[in-house]
């Protein structure tokens, strides 16, 4: 039993089921991120936790009490919305204390709570303004203040950073993380941005098509994606996925795929269980940072393979230089150190950290190794 249990929960609109048997258990103090592309059902799930959408079947429990049919205000939750949903006709102060007022908290206590939250979020000077007079970042803080002041069991965040510009988004991200560390509250956070998911969460639920594709720590999700969807959705640039054949050489399974000129490369797998796939096609997943120049290869790795291929485009990005090429008939991106000497059209020798390579079943797209 967790702090927040989502137990075999589904959601249908009429005959259409949009969430399929979701099972997630969140421990107290956890920061769970629901991530996925738009329409994956993550916001619906969040709204069901909040009580804004009815649960079709299954149960949602907070602190072991069943929340099905309980009014949102009775769940002791707070929510921060994408648009912040600040009441335009009220001042910042009134916005923050509205929930307390609705719950019948006496005025002096409301004032006190408001001051504390305002201090915590450094918005004391804004209390008498209307939301219309605030900048995006300030609104964001007010929206969080409104959630914090309630001292809820669970915080729900619905894409809270997506309306901010890039720089502010990074700042606020850090801010939220700090806040979580300081207050230790339980948070469920919805985003479509995998970087937010990775940086903020203690656990991530990757969702697509109404299914939870994978639930795990950021590390698990990144290193051992359950399927091609998770693999390509998490990480930037996305994981390269190319068709390859499994060949046995000295009993060890190797990946065989074509280079730019049609000649074949043969790289050894670390995972011996792939021997069972001999002669069959698989999909090979290689993260860009595991495809580097030879000097930049991970020293700790026990399985670095080399191959030579022609560079199509180079994209210096300051800290790194991205190189694209053709592998297995696909565009593949490699991530080099910024000082790697590469240019377009050059035939270059790459190092592939095969220890980190992932293989997928082309039929089911599920991970078969590691």
């Amino acid at each position: 039993m967790g702090f927040l249990d989502i137990d075999n929960t589904t959601k249908s609109y009429g005959a259409v089921e949009v969430l399929h048997n979701v099972d997630i258990s969140v421990q107290e103090g956890e920061f769970l991120v629901l991530v996925g592309p738009s329409g994956c059902g993550k916001s619906t799930l969040l709204n069901m936790i909040a009580g804004l959408e009815e649960i079709t079947s299954g149960e949602i429990r907070i602190k072991d009490s069943v929340m099905n049919g309980v009014h949102p205000s009775k769940r002791n939750i707070a929510m921060v919305f994408q648009s912040y949903a600040l009441y335009p006709n009220m001042t910042v102060g009134q916005n923050i204390t509205f929930g307390l007022e609705m719950h019948g908290t006496p005025k002096p206590e409301r004032e006190k709570a408001m001051r504390e939250v305002a201090k915590l979020l450094q918005i004391e000077q804004l209390l008498d303004r209307k939301p219309g007079q605030l900048s995006g970042g300030q609104r964001q803080r007010v929206a969080m203040g409104r959630a914090l002041v309630r001292n809820p069991d669970v915080f729900l965040f619905d894409e809270p950073l997506s309306n901010l510009d890039a720089k502010l988004r990074v700042d606020m991200r850090t801010e939220i993380k700090k806040l979580h560390q300081k207050l230790g509250t339980t948070i469920v956070y919805v985003t479509h941005d995998q970087i937010e998911a990775m940086t903020l969460s203690t656990r991530i639920a990757v969702m697509n098509g109404g299914y939870v594709q994978q639930l795990g720590t950021p590390q698990e999700i990144y290193d051992s994606p359950a399927n091609i969807f998770v693999a390509t959705f998490m990480g930037s640039p996305a994981m390269n996925v190319l068709p390859a054949h499994v060949r046995l050489q000295k009993d060890a399974p190797h990946a065989e795929f074509s280079l730019h000129d049609g000649s074949l490369a043969l790289l050894p797998f670390s995972q011996k269980n792939l021997a069972a796939w001999e002669g069959k096609e698989i999909l090979l997943g290689i993260r860009p940072e595991t495809l580097t120049d030879v000097d930049g290869a991970d020293r700790k790795s026990s399985n670095i393979a080399e191959m030579t291929n022609r560079i199509v485009v180079t994209e210096p990005a300051g800290s790194d230089t991205f190189v694209s090429m053709q592998l297995g008939g696909k565009d593949v991106i490699a991530r080099m150190r910024s000082d790697a000497e590469v240019r377009a059209g050059q035939d270059f020798t790459f190092a592939v950290n095969m220890e980190k390579a992932v293989a997928f079943d082309p039929e089911t797209e599920a991970r078969i190794a590691p």
């Binding site: 709204n47 009580g51 205000s73 919305f81 949903a85 335009p88 006709n89 929930g99 409104r146």
Partner: protein, 293 residues
């Protein structure tokens, strides 16, 4: 919801602009014409009017017709002028406008923020109801009012106006609330606000522009209504339009056109005031809701 910038970004040349001004002013004259006729003739002695020259300025200026229309013209048996009927109208219009606007707002709120099965069909039915010709409802309505014991009362009359006004007020508020962010409603729900608290505290304070549209529309329609007023009012609750009609349509006898025009303007004063005072917000309100579909 944010109101877009005021004027268009389009630029026009000097000659075009002059032309535009000319056209605009010509139309202004066209619109002012009947009011001019009424005003000018309401301050002339009757002899000057019957002598012809409707467009001429008065040779002899008099406010007599105005006083007469207000306080001593023959409306019924007693020469009461329009004054008592003015208050009858106010007593009917104010509750009717208030109730129909509030109901329209609540309906719009439910239809956009508390959707349920078949709500669109209900709304369609309400909207279609706006188009019913009033002449056909007179007899059955009279019977209903009689059954409810409201025949011949101000309340009965107000009820009739509410009934046939909510279609439009609901339309206005629904279109307006349709673009009101639903997240605000959800936030308030989580904050613990109930149905009515959300309405009063969150929605209504932001409904100014559309409330203006709804009030203007209802106020003008109800104030200017004659058919219902004549048919359903009691002897002591006849509205202004019925009195004005009695003044203007007096069957046999001398027609005091100057008094008629003065009375007509007096009867129209409240609606004119509403348009002049609230007209500024009218376009804004239309913009915020009703023409956005």
């Amino acid at each position: 919801m944010s109101v877009a910038s005021q004027d268009t970004a389009i630029r026009t040349g000097r000659i075009t602009r002059t032309l535009i001004y000319v056209v605009l002013i010509l139309f202004a004259l066209f619109y002012m014409l009947p009011l001019y006729v009424m005003l000018v003739n309401s301050v002339k002695p009757l002899s000057e009017i019957t002598g012809g020259g409707m467009m001429n300025l008065p040779e002899e200026f008099t406010l007599e017709p105005w006083f007469k229309a207000w306080s001593s013209a023959q409306i019924g048996v007693e020469p009461t002028g329009l004054a008592p009927y003015f208050w009858n109208s106010i007593k009917m219009v104010v509750p009717a406008v208030a109730v129909s606007t509030v109901l329209g707002a609540l309906n719009g709120y439910v239809l956009t923020k508390w959707r349920f099965k078949y709500d669109t069909i209900l709304f369609g039915l309400m909207l279609f109801a706006c188009f019913i010709p009033f002449q056909i409802v007179l007899i059955p309505m009279a019977r209903m009012l009689g059954l409810m014991g409201l025949a011949g009362t101000t309340w009965g009359l107000a009820l009739v106006h509410v009934v046939y006004g909510i279609g439009f007020t609901t339309l206005y508020f629904r279109n307006y609330y349709a673009v009101f962010p639903t997240e605000l409603i959800r936030a308030a729900q989580i904050d613990g606000a109930g149905f009515f608290q959300i309405f009063w505290r969150i929605l209504l304070p932001s409904s100014g522009p559309i409330a203006v549209v709804s009030i203007i529309w209802q106020f003008t329609n109800i104030w200017n209504d004659f058919l219902f007023g004549a048919s359903f009012a009691g002897a002591d609750s006849q509205p202004m339009t019925v009195a004005l009609n009695n003044l203007v349509q007096a069957s046999h006898g001398v027609k005091e056109y100057n008094v008629h025009f003065a009375g007509a303007i007096l009867a129209a004063t409240p609606t004119l005031l509403v348009y002049i005072v609230a007209g500024r917000y009218f376009v804004r309100g239309l913009m915020a809701g009703s023409v956005k579909g």
